[in-house]
């Protein structure tokens, strides 16, 4: 180019020409966001060479020329650690990429040969800019809090106190019940109570496998560690107090102190995060780790359903025209994916996909009503196992061969996936236990995957026509 536009102006021009996509990779912590992003970047960089992307129509037609990392728009955010993730997959023994602990961003320029009639005027080569953002899944759960005030939030938290969860939070519950909403509590005591609450959250997440952990920053505070803004907790015992009576309490009462901190948290922690990263998306992929939820039992599974439902309310969906694309972009296409499909045999993929659709039935209904195309996938970003057919056991029996987290080579039939959630007697009788696997050591070429290509074609296929 003989003359260069200012960067910002170029962005606007590209958006206007529909040559820029911001992809929202949504998933709770441990759902496989980092692995997904690593694989996505890897596949696109190897597109047309050795990546197995047969289901991407542009690759089939030999139109996709490849992708390169370019300068990201926001230079104050770290770059997505792609090289580190690849290094951990190539190490011996190979390991999954380390979980995300902060924000990171990456911009890919995807080059392709266009098929549009305008190619005669503007040239055949075109570039699609893809913005990817990685963030800790824990923080995502703060988004539903934006729509609540302290009273509502406390009510939600109280309704979530199932006996299983109560077991993890017992210390905090016991200590917190000593203080009534109108009492005046010292700063030091408040900090201790908040610490107990945080410990309880950590335990519920780690040992119980629970998903709906609010506030998310308590788990990964970053630079906010020990700041008073992270020292609050919900009041779960508000029986006998009306909302008016609580609102009339003096400013130094426990209720008002906690309320003030909650509001501060919302305004100064969640809102900036939401505004700068979550408002401007064009496409979305929702990653759900269904198998781990099945392992943890019906309570956790139902909570996953509740969590995903609450989460999906935080995004803008709708059709994009030229103006809305420039000023208020909305998500106009959606993929939901059950990750770790390589942890079950291929004949179970249908069931996995159906189970995912059942799990997400409420959001899917809303999408349908809003006329947003949505599709469910059974996906494995990085394939850790290979499928084998057993010769002399039962005819056509399939098994997976791979390395477990205990570093053992196994040949395993991991169990059937139910296509609907089984009833209680089944859980009491049998339950599920899907084995997690280590990734196979990656040497060269593109990462092996399951259905990343179908997902890519669904999400971006209409953009690189």
């Amino acid at each position: 180019m003989a003359w260069t536009l200012p960067k910002h102006l170029r962005d606007v021009l590209e958006r206007g020409l529909d040559r820029q996509v911001r992809l929202a990779v949504t998933g709770l912590s441990r759902a496989g966001k980092t692995a997904f992003l690593t694989s996505l970047i890897n596949q696109l960089r190897h597109a047309g060479l050795d990546a197995q992307l047969e289901l991407v129509s542009a690759v089939r037609e030999h139109r996709l020329l490849g992708a390169q990392r370019v300068d990201q728009p926001d230079l104050s955010i770290p770059r997505f650690p792609y090289d580190e993730a690849m290094a951990s997959l190539q190490a011996s023994p190979a390991a999954w990429p380390t979980p995300t602990r902060g924000m990171s961003e990456l911009r890919l320029a995807i080059k392709y040969r266009t098929r549009r009639a305008s190619r005669h005027l503007t040239g055949e080569e075109a570039t699609l800019t893809l913005d990817l953002i990685d963030y800790p899944g824990e923080w995502l759960l703060d988004l539903p809090m934006l729509q609540q005030d302290f009273h509502d939030w406390s009510g939600t938290m109280a309704s979530l106190m199932t006996p299983e969860r109560r077991a993890f939070m017992s210390t905090w519950l016991e200590k917190a019940s000593a203080h009534t909403p109108d009492s005046v509590v010292e700063e030091q005591t408040l900090a201790e109570l908040a610490a107990h609450y945080t410990d309880g959250l950590h335990q519920a997440r780690r040992d119980g496998g629970f998903y709906f952990i609010q506030p998310g920053r308590f788990l990964l505070p970053g630079e906010l560690r020990d700041a008073p803004v992270l020292q609050f907790y919900p009041l779960v015992q508000l029986e006998g107090w009306s909302r008016e009576a609580l609102d009339a309490l003096p400013a130094d009462s426990l209720y008002q102190t906690l309320k003030a901190r909650f509001e501060h948290y919302k305004r100064h922690v969640i809102t900036p995060f939401y505004k700068s990263y979550f408002q401007r998306f064009d496409r979305q992929v929702v990653l759900v780790d269904v198998l781990t939820a099945l392992n943890s039992g019906p309570a956790v599974f139902n909570e996953l359903r509740y969590t995903m439902n609450a989460l999906m309310q935080s995004f803008n969906y709708g059709r994009n025209g030229l103006f809305s694309r420039l000023f208020t972009p909305r998500i106009d296409r959606l993929a939901i994916a059950a990750t770790k499909a390589d942890h079950v045999t291929p004949d179970q993929h249908d069931a996995l996909q159906t189970l995912l659709s059942t799990l997400m039935s409420q959001p899917l209904q809303d999408m349908r009503y809003a006329n947003i195309p949505a599709r469910a996938f059974a996906l494995a970003s990085i394939r850790a196992t290979t499928v084998k057919k057993l010769e002399n056991v039962t005819p056509n029996a399939l098994a997976l061969s791979g390395r477990t987290l205990e570093d053992q080579e196994v040949l395993l039939f991991p169990g059937d996936v139910p296509s609907t959630l089984p009833d209680e007697t089944f859980w009491a009788r049998q339950g599920f236990s899907f084995t997690p696997f280590h990734p196979a050591r990656h040497t060269s070429g593109a990462l092996p995957h399951i259905r990343m290509d179908a997902l890519l074609d669904w999400l971006l296929g209409d953009k690189w026509l």
Partner: protein, 337 residues
């Protein structure tokens, strides 16, 4: 009068309605294994499809005709055989030779009938496979059946490309997508080229032919040739009877199913024709027959393609019309590619 009966509880039958899922099971790592591939062949289902029944003639008439034909063939062969024997006994050489010739003729006839029946059944099996693939619930391996049925050799480059593109986790829909791209798309392109070429040639021939009778003959001959070639492209060999069945089906399809589509096309066509007629009535005639021929070709292609076209990639007459017109008026700038 009897009292109304009181409610009564019945014993529930003891059925276990709960679903069982197989628990995980670890095998010994030394268990012999092979590389897993999706199952390759589907059980042949014997139910006739609706299209199949529509394609078949009424059974009674056909059976009577068949019995008559087979009977006369058998009796004729037997009589000729007896005649040969007698001729040998009484050294009546000439009548013997005639009888031998008769046996030979009967053999040829039988072979011809057998071949026709085989081709007809292939056409019917093709229709059945197609219908099975259309409703999206085809059992695993239908595509492999189709590939075999299309007569693709083991070393066919398109088939090889398709097989190479597959991965073990692909489901039936994904395999079908790849099949369309690797195996059918090249044939579709070829078919379109063929239709364009044949219909432009027909248009040119009709435009220069001096007699109406010759026009009719030309049209019939060339269109049959085109249908034949299209069928061969999609892996079908047409015999006399199967060609007749196909033609009949294509024509009835054009007359009924495609009526609305034709109406849409007609609008543009009428304008073109009116314009053409102003220039030359011969050219208009040629263009008209060319368009008809092209439409017949497209309809045949649509019926023969083992997987139905998706709406957006269905070939349309408008793609061909322009090339046709340019051919007729004699400019070569739009050489059919």
């Amino acid at each position: 009068m009897t009292d109304p009966r009181p409610p009564r509880y019945f014993e529930m039958p003891e059925t276990d309605t709960s679903v069982h899922w197989k628990p995980p099971h670890a095998y010994d790592t030394t268990t012999p294994v092979t590389v897993w591939e999706p199952p390759a062949s589907a059980p042949e289902n014997g139910t006739d499809s609706a299209l199949d029944r529509a394609l078949a003639r009424p059974g009674k008439r056909r059976r009577g005709l068949f019995a008559l034909l087979a009977g006369s063939l058998a009796i004729g062969t037997a009589q000729c055989g007896v005649a040969v024997y007698e001729a040998w006994q009484y050294s009546n050489w000439f009548s013997g030779l005639w009888a031998g010739l008769g046996v030979l003729a009967a053999g040829f006839l039988a072979r011809g009938v057998f071949k026709e029946l085989k081709r007809l059944s292939r056409l019917r099996r093709h229709a059945r496979l197609r219908e099975r693939l259309e409703d999206d619930s085809a059992p695993v391996g239908t595509l492999d059946d189709l590939a075999r049925h299309m007569g693709l050799g083991r070393d066919d480059p398109h088939l090889l490309a398709w097989q190479q593109a597959q991965a073990d986790h692909h489901d039936e829909r994904e395999r079908q997508l790849l099949f369309e791209h690797h195996v059918l798309a090249p044939r579709d392109r070829e078919a379109r080229r063929l239709i364009t070429r044949m219909s432009t040639e027909t248009a040119a021939l009709v435009a220069i032919s001096p007699m109406t009778l010759l026009d009719m003959g030309l049209m019939a001959w060339r269109n049959v040739r085109m249908i034949d070639r299209l069928a061969r492209l999609y892996g079908l060999e047409l015999g006399y009877a199967s060609r007749l069945t196909l033609c009949r089906h294509v024509l009835s399809n054009m007359a009924f199913a495609g009526a609305s589509e034709i109406a849409v096309d007609m609008g543009a066509e009428l304008v073109t024709m009116n314009l053409a007629e102003k220039l030359s009535s011969r050219a208009a005639q040629g263009l008209g027959s060319g368009l008809l021929s092209a439409r017949l070709g497209l309809r045949t292609q649509r019926m023969l393609r083992p997987l139905p076209f998706r709406e957006e990639e269905r070939p349309r007459i408008s793609h061909i019309r322009r090339q046709l017109w340019q051919q007729v008026k004699g400019s070569n700038e739009a050489e059919p590619r």
